[in-house]
Every structure is written in C-alpha cells, then in structure tokens.
C-alpha cells in the first residue's frame, strides 16, 4: 500500500469554497462564534428554554471545540456555512424549543461503555 501512503502526503489544487487561506477560514469561524455568542440571550428569551445564558455559552464553546481538529480549509468553510444556517434558523424562530434543547441530549440515555453493560443492553 505504498501508493496510499503517497496519497496521504500529496497535495492537490482545488477551487475554494469561501476562504483562500487558513487565516481567512479562522476569521470566519471566529465571526460565527461571536454572532452566536451575541444572539444567545435573545435565543434563551425567545424560546423560553430552561437553560441560563452561561450554560448556553458553555454549550456553544463545546460545539466549536468539538471541531478543533479540523484543518482542511474547505471543511472549515462548510462547517461555518452549516453553523450560519443553524444560527439563522434559531434566530428567526424557524426551530422549536425541542430543537434547541437537543444540543444537551437530555432525553438520550448515555451509551454503555464497559463490556458487561453493553452485553446486557444488547449493543
């Protein structure tokens, strides 16, 4: 599989989506973060969710940090586009309360991690 190793190291020329370099992609991500950060008080008020502004901001940070490992400029751009769409949907109240609360996954049972509980649950 020497060919596959070579592909891993190789680079290619592609059309950009929004940004042409890492710095620009980073700026876009930060701008999106700021936009969310500023809208959170209004979202909390409009949707009347049982969460405080601080909890929402912690969740916002968590969602961004989750994608920290992404380095590809085009993938970052797509994530920014998706985040922008989510923000728009939240701000325009195209979502409902449950859609906002879904970020906390309160209604989902945590998946078992050890062997025995996996076996008992049949996962």
């Amino acid at each position: 599989m020497a060919g596959r190793e070579a592909i891993k190291r190789a680079v290619q020329q592609v059309r950009p989506i929004l940004s042409v370099d890492r710095e620009e992609a980073r700026k876009r991500a930060l701008n999106l973060y700021k936009a969310w950060y500023r809208q959170i008080p209004y979202i909390v008020m409009d949707y009347d969710i049982p969460m405080s502004v601080e909890q929402c901001r912690a969740k916002l940070r968590e969602e961004f940090v989750k994608q920290r490992h992404v380095t590809d400029i085009r993938v970052i751009d797509m994530l920014v586009i998706k985040g922008q769409m989510e923000l728009k949907e939240s701000v325009e109240i195209w979502k409902q309360k449950g859609h906002i609360m879904r970020y906390w996954k309160e209604s989902q049972d945590p998946k078992p991690t050890d062997f025995l509980s996996k076996f008992i649950q049949g996962v």
């Binding site: 596959r4 592909i7 891993k8 190291r9 190789a10 680079v11 290619q12 020329q13 592609v14 059309r15 950009p16 929004l18 042409v20 370099d21 994608q67 992404v70 590809d72 400029i73 085009r74 993938v75 797509m78 994530l79 998706k82 998946k111 049949g122 996962v123």
Partner: protein, 183 residues
C-alpha cells in the same frame, strides 16, 4: 429615455454612476447599427469588494489530497468511530445464475443489533447504515470513499474463479475411460 432617467432618480446615489453607464451602453446600442459585445449587468453593478472576492474565488488553493469529510457528512460520530467496513466483491449466486453483475466492489458495514418486531414478526434494526449499498468500479475507489468518510476498512480477500473446460465432447476424449466399445 425619460423612463430611464425616472428609474435612475429613484435609485440610491451609489448605484447611479453604474446605472448611467448602463444607460450609455443602451444608448450606444440604439444609436448605431454596429453590434457591440453584450455586457453582463451583474459585473457592471458589482462593488469593488465583490469583484475582488470573485477574482479571489476564481483561483485555486492547495489542500492535502487526503480529505476527511466526517465533520460535515452528517453521519453521527459514534457511527464513524465504531463502524468497520468490509470491502468485497459480491459472491456469485450458488444457483445457475450468470456472473455478469459481479464485477463491482461493494462496501458493507459490520452488523448491529437486530430484533424481531413483536407486532408483525418482521426483523427490525436501528442501524441506519445496514442497508447502504454502494458499488465501486475498483477496490481503490472503495478504499478512498471509506477514508474520506473516516471509517475503518478492510479488504476481503478476492476470490479467484477456477477456470475449467466446459465441453461435452471432452468427456469422450481418446484418453477418457468413458470411451468404451459397444462390442
């Protein structure tokens, strides 16, 4: 012409310059029978920042060839971390079917829990990837697809078909015991 100037009066000041340009072009077109190249209204009316952005995006950027699309593919993260993909050529039907559609490579995910539905007795599964049937022209294409989506994969060993002579007459060759005298 009076209609055009009426429209121009209603436009904001920033657009008036470019709008008058458009008007000039239109007048020139009416005045002479000589044909001029058609101009794109969007490119005339674009602001300098828009033009700059468009020029920038028309170029190319350098990215690594290995792309990981798992953050944007929409597949849940535990289905990316925990699944393993088997890349294989589907086997021939054991009955007397032909082998015409067995040239493509397929991907198949490891099995997840299935259960019998208590209502009808049908088999149910909670696994969204269990029925995903994607075919590829070659093994490498399938491997690339899995790597782009962040799945672990393995290639199932290729079964080579044993060639054998299919000829009824061979059974009665000179050195076969089947060739017996009738006397």
């Amino acid at each position: 012409m009076s209609g055009l100037s009426h429209i121009m009066r209603q436009r904001p000041f920033a657009l008036q310059m470019s709008a008058s340009k458009v008007a000039n072009v239109l007048v020139a077109r009416w005045a002479s029978s000589q044909d001029i190249a058609p101009m794109d209204l969007k490119s005339i009316l674009a602001r300098p920042e828009e033009v700059e952005q468009r020029n920038k995006l028309s170029g190319k950027i350098t990215v690594p060839k290995a792309v990981n699309l798992s953050p944007i593919s929409g597949v849940p993260s535990d289905h990316i971390r925990e699944r393993r993909v088997r890349i294989h050529i589907p086997p021939k039907n054991a009955m007397q079917s032909g082998t015409d559609n067995l040239q493509t490579w397929q991907i198949e995910f490891d099995n997840r829990e299935r259960w019998e539905n208590p209502l009808m007795g049908w088999t149910s599964t909670g696994d969204p990837l269990s029925n995903m049937n994607v075919q590829f022209g070659s093994k490498d294409e399938a491997i690339t697809y899995c790597e782009r989506n962040g799945w672990r994969w393995y290639v199932d060993s290729e079964q080579t078909k044993k060639e054998r002579v299919k000829n009824y007459g061979v059974n009665f060759s000179w050195n076969k015991r089947t060739r017996v005298s009738t006397k």
